[in-house]
């Protein structure tokens, strides 16, 4: 714990995730992985290979069956739900395939939701939310509800929301899976831009190979094992 270097965001040691049942599913098998701050990383692999499981474990939404997960030098297995929730609120942003916006709230309110949850919303935060929305190209949609926006626009709102509390890392599980190619590319470029500008770590699951290949680092998972971990410079 003490000897994990400063620049390491995440460290996995012998992580297993087994879904119990009559036929136990070994979704993650003895994963060892280190992710540094500011990395732009994609995870690829066939369907059912364990990518989502990996994202959920990394994002503290799911607990590994065994192994150690270190976040910013701290071992997380002893953390209770409350602590994990606070950590997620502060340090982690999620983007899912479905945007999962709250339909009753405007784009701006949806973006502000993580700050509402941290109970720190003030004028500054509201301005920040607006800036982020402008940044993702929705400067004219502050007060639109999700039903009034297109799929791509909603996903941008979800991206803006994930950025709101200025987390250390964004987990995006097939964030463009439901979008057309052009929109996918735009969103991918948006991620890159944010990564370049503020150094936020991005971990993106995608099955669009050519998109994946543009990342700095590509991890391939097959059947719960990491079979490839390559860096592009």
């Amino acid at each position: 714990m003490a000897n994990i270097p400063e620049n390491i965001l995440l460290k996995l040691e012998n992580i297993n995730r087994t879904y119990a049942g009559a036929q136990p599913v070994y979704a993650l098998k003895n994963i060892n992985l280190t992710i540094c701050k500011g990395e732009f990383l994609t995870i690829v692999g066939p369907s059912g290979s364990g990518k989502s499981t990996m994202m959920n474990v990394l994002g503290l939404l799911d607990a590994p069956t065994s192994g150690h997960l270190y976040y910013l030098g701290q071992e997380t297995s002893k953390w209770n739900e409350k602590r994990k929730a606070e950590f997620r609120n502060r340090e982690i942003g999620f983007i899912f395939q479905a945007h999962l916006l709250l339909p009753e709230f405007t784009a701006l309110e949806n973006v502000l939701m993580p700050s509402f949850i941290s109970r720190k919303t003030n004028k500054e935060q509201k301005n920040r939310a607006k800036e982020i929305l402008i940044h993702v190209g929705l400067g004219d949609k502050f007060y639109s509800k999700p039903a009034q926006l297109s799929g791509g626009q909603n996903q941008r709102v979800a991206i803006a929301r994930s950025l709101m509390n200025n987390p250390s890392v964004i987990f995006a599980d097939e964030p463009t899976g439901a979008l057309d190619q052009k929109t996918s590319m735009d969103i991918y470029n948006l991620f890159r831009k944010i990564n370049a500008e503020v150094g936020m770590t991005f971990i993106i699951v995608t099955h669009e190979r050519d998109l994946a290949q543009k990342a700095d680092r590509v991890i391939e998972i097959v059947d719960g094992n990491i079979v490839r971990d390559e860096r592009h410079v």
């Binding site: 939404l61 739900e81 409350k82 899912f96 999962l100 339909p103």
Partner: protein, 414 residues
């Protein structure tokens, strides 16, 4: 934003109108019924008690340890064959207090006692022309009597103050039946046949049928004459501060004087018992009302929360804690119940007004010749408030707890 839970809850209230309306209607009907049913019944009972208490002393001391109580107009008297009743009593009656001044002196310092008035009271007849009616003849000292009962306020014509030895005051119903009015002369006859010719100087209406038909007031002296009591009285009426302490005070007076002491609560035991039985039934009815309102809340919330599972998942992934998720839904329910309470209260008022209209058009009730004033029962309005809040919390807590316990991964994928 300190309480984002409330912010989300209120938005859910305004955005999910269908659910909001269903829940609000369910609770407001419940609230209206919880207020309406007791209000109209208690208005009726309160009125009955008010009228009974107002027209008789809170406590009456009599000498004879006779279980037959007739100094107050009872409902037995109203229903039973009056003549038969009179005959029986003529034989058994012998109740007099020789030195009522001593008794008054003896008890005057008892706590709660506000005023005392000696009187004689027996059954007799009032005759005018061919009409002959049985009556409770009450010989009073008007200056004292008016301090003990509200009879003065019930006078609708003429007067009771300064009642002379040749004067009589009749109840409105009796006056009608005798076809007697102010200035007319009537004859009263005591149980032993002594009679006296008197002039009608006042007519009263207590609103209580038994009183208005059977009670007459004469001067103490006249009463003593026709009942052949000499200078004795047979009762002392007492007014106390807290009328619901009547039984305790009566008990104390009984011990102190050794005389027979009656309280209005014993006299009106039937009504009071009826009220208590009614209140018990109301507890049961309220329980049923609450139960049905609660079950509608629970089922609507189970559906609502099922439809919001993904959103709950994302809220939790953003760091919303379990208790916050729960608070969102519970405060949504509570907000709805506050709205519903106000609607239910207005609804109850309308129902009470509607019911009062029906009763008023009838103009009378079984025991009273005047219609009571139907008021909202503050007690039950307050109770309904807590019922509605408590019920909604209880009814929403199980679905909300389920929401809070949702596994975010499953919720998001599900």
């Amino acid at each position: 934003m300190k309480f984002y839970e409330l912010f989300i809850a209120l938005r859910y209230v305004t955005s999910n109108l269908k659910q909001s309306v269903i829940i609000t209607v369910a609770i407001s009907i419940g609230v209206a019924l919880i207020i309406w049913i007791p209000s109209i019944n208690l208005s009726f009972f309160d009125d009955l008690i008010d009228k009974s208490v107002a027209s008789t002393p809170n406590i009456t001391i009599t000498k004879e340890l006779d279980t037959f109580k007739s100094n107050a107009p009872t409902f037995d008297l109203f229903f039973a064959d009056r003549r038969l009743l009179l005959k029986n009593q003529v034989q058994s009656r012998k109740r007099n207090i020789k030195s009522y001044k001593e008794v008054i002196d003896q008890v005057k310092n008892v706590e709660q006692i506000e005023a005392m008035a000696p009187f004689v009271n027996e059954q007799g007849f009032v005759i005018k022309g061919a009409e002959e009616r049985g009556a409770q003849i009450r010989g009073i000292i008007p200056e004292l009597e008016t301090k003990v009962t509200d009879i003065e306020n019930d006078i609708i014509r003429g007067r009771i103050k300064g009642l002379g030895v040749n004067d009589i005051v009749l109840g409105i119903t009796l006056a009608d039946k005798l076809n007697a009015d102010i200035g007319d002369r009537v004859t009263i006859t005591g149980p032993r046949g002594t009679s006296k010719n008197l002039k009608v100087v006042g007519i009263f209406s207590t609103g209580l049928r038994a009183n208005d038909e059977f009670q007459v007031y004469v001067a103490l002296k006249s009463g003593q004459q026709i009942f052949e009591l000499g200078n004795d009285v047979n009762s002392i009426g007492i007014k106390i501060k807290d009328i619901y302490k009547a039984n305790d005070v009566a008990q104390a007076l009984r011990k102190m004087t050794g005389l027979d002491v009656d309280s209005w609560m014993e006299e009106n035991k039937q009504i009071l018992d009826q009220i208590n039985r009614f209140k018990l039934i109301i507890v049961f009815i309220n329980f049923l009302i609450i139960f049905s309102a609660a079950s509608s809340i629970t089922s609507v919330f189970l559906m609502l929360i099922a439809s919001k599972a993904k959103e709950i998942g994302i809220l939790k992934s953003m760091g919303a804690k379990n208790h916050s998720v729960m608070a969102v839904f519970v405060s949504q329910a509570v907000s709805l119940s506050l709205i519903a309470y106000v609607i239910g209260l207005c609804f109850a008022k309308l129902l009470i007004a509607w019911y009062a209209g029906i009763i008023e058009s009838a103009g009378e009730t079984l025991f009273t010749s005047e219609v009571p004033e139907f008021k909202i029962s503050i007690q039950y309005a307050v109770l309904a408030f807590f019922y509605s809040i408590f019920t909604t919390i209880l009814a929403s807590i199980i679905p909300s707890y389920q929401a809070a316990k949702l596994n975010p991964v499953e919720a998001i994928n599900g």
